[in-house]
Amino acid sequence: MRGKTHCLEVWGDFACFTRPEMKVERFSYPVITPSAARGIFDAIYWKRSYGFYWQIEKVEILKPPRYIALRRNEVKDKAPPESTIIAWKEGKRQIEPLWADGDRDLLGTDQKGRTQRQTMALKDVHYRLYAHMKFRNGVSNTATHDDQFVRRASHGKCFYQPFFGCREFPAFFQHIETDDEKKTAFPLDMDLGWMLYDVFDLRQANDEFAHPRISIFHARMIRGVLNVPQYDEPAVKKVEEVTHA
């Protein structure tokens, strides 16, 4: 069962929808990915207990993709899991700092410390996103959820600030009710190749311990419109589809 199609216009100064294959020296896809678009809808209205996921239908680009090169000093290490931090708090384990500075001589490894990395981000992005709620186990009151989303989105409410790929690139949004408000998409044709669709299996009610089940699809932008297949469709290549000889 599905809800009605909602439209959001989203914009921001920067965005980085990192290509997984260029994740270290980050390079953004030229357009928002379905999973990043889903994240924006999730930020406005979503709870795991509601039993639905946002199914992105299409993305329209309203401004041409323009890149900006950013360089930052980034640590090579990452924060330990929560269990380790709790153990530190309880004094059960020795606290280990996250080394910002230090080299092989000092730390005995080049896996720690920091290094300069590039981000090829997008600047001045503006998209129109279309999506609907897809309920996993059938829900009778889809209209209630749709109304709640419209109410929250049109009042600018969100559970957390939506973002464009990385949390440091906030996304601003406006709920679009009628076609009159719509600007024309920027006419751009691009074959984007295999693009990340989502990291998780959307048919499962994922929690923070969910395992990644990466899905991809062949993305083609025609006249500024990226049509996104439904997650259930075969066009979305998922991990469990084993091809038989």
Binding site: K76, T115, Q116, W194, V199, I214, K237, V239
Partner: protein, 585 residues
Amino acid sequence: MLDALLKVAGSTEPGFARKIVKWAITCAADGRFTGVIPLSEGKGQEYSHCPNLRFSELVGGGGSRSHFLVEGLSTLALYWKDDTEQKEQEKNHAKHKYFCSLLESASLDAPYLKAGAEMLKDEETLIAIQADLKRQKAKSTETATIMVNGINPLERDDWKNWWRKFRQTLQTPKPTTSKMRCFASGELVEPLMTHPKIKGLAGVGGLGMGDVLIGFDKDASQSYGLEQSANAAISEDAATAYTETLSGLIRDKGIKFGGAMITYWFLDSIPDEDDPFPWLTEPPEQTSAVAELKASQLLRAIKEGLRPDLAGNRYIALVLSGAAGRVMVREIMEGLFEILVANIEKWFSDLAIVSREGDRLVPFPKFFSVANAIEFLSKDGNILRNINDVPPSLISGLLRAALTNGMIPASAMSRALMRIRADFVAARPPLEVRFSIIRAYLKRKGDQNMGTYLNKEHPHPAYHCGRLLAVFARLQRAALGDVGAGVVQRYYAAASQTPGLILGRLATNAKNHLGKLEGGLAWWYENLIADVMGKIKNDMPRTLTLEEQSLFALGYYQQLAALNAGKGEKSENIADNDNNKEGTK
């Protein structure tokens, strides 16, 4: 990008790679050393399917491993410099032993390799090989192979099956095999954990041994509990194909500009003479003007349907550099071949500018010269030929502008402007290409009034302020001759930023200069000044923004060119024709 690379990948196979081999150490069928031969007259011979181990395979297993059949002379012949450290020598001895053991094992399938192993194991023979190498001035880092009784194993297939099986034995068995979707092919595959290296970026910040495009060795690069390159699943076949293809493109079509390497390909191959990239960059024997003509002709042929083979073709261009063993992708540009050619033609036409003499257009600058003119200023005002220090970001920005008809980076315009000012202060004639860059910048910002020649009807007063300065300068010269530091040298920088303050003072001086001229000439100058001031009206700007300063610079330059062309008569006719032509485009 990866799927586009796979589309042009030739036949590649994991465990094999293209290599250039400089030397062949030869022996007879009984293993007797017969001499060292430089391949391809010392330039090195390229072989497309040499056995190759990935870095992880080379360092795995605890002991020292070497490649098979092709190795460095330090490994193959224990040939090194006298000052090589003991530790390094021991390592090379171990690798040499491994190399010989590989030859012996492979001799089950290719028996002649046994003689090669015998030759390399014999210490006296090794001394003879080293002496021969020294005589021929070989370097220890150069690569070599063996030839037995005239048989070059790299030209044969008899050892390949053995090699494939042997390589399998080097793979570490994985506890679990989870399949993922390949980002290059879309197939369900077992992801390769460490990828082969891309070669050819050593001159642009990369390492001699190569750099990885896809590598996740640090904790911070890994997400969702995925290890190493499972973060971007690619199969071994696809990884071999993309690395071999990209390395080949860098080698065959790489264009090094400053700290960046540009490479490109077409999804359908095209004849070399139709490849528009060399026209833009560094045409070997043709001038850029011919390049522009070729672009026009090709474009016309495509539009008239005479070249259907080119019409639907697509190009992909990359700007790459190396960073601590990783490949840094700075730009990915892609589009239709037809649009690429049109954009290159537009690049040339936007850069067109009148010459300082005012009687012709400046020859179109090459891409190389544009980047160079922005970045460098030599003592004599000539463009330096070394652009190794041009920042890659500037190269990327200019290339994007050229290939996609994008904006000229504002930083390029401001730098060009700064160089022009510096030229004037030092009493040097500024490079014409710097005005070309500014014109292209303004054109692409939407200034349709910016012609190649003087435009007396330009709507912006900043342009006419620049013209006025040129007239004042010429008037001073007519009145006083060479005065050393003239109006331009002393006032250009200030007038281009605060014309309201400076031009009034110069107008007062102009009265004195007019008084020194004979009647007819004084009258002519007076009229010209009045004409230019008439365009400024009461809008004399007090200060100019950076963009307005660029208009000022072009106003000055184009007025000067018009004056140089014979009191404006000749150039005005050309200018009218030319600017009208542009207007109808």
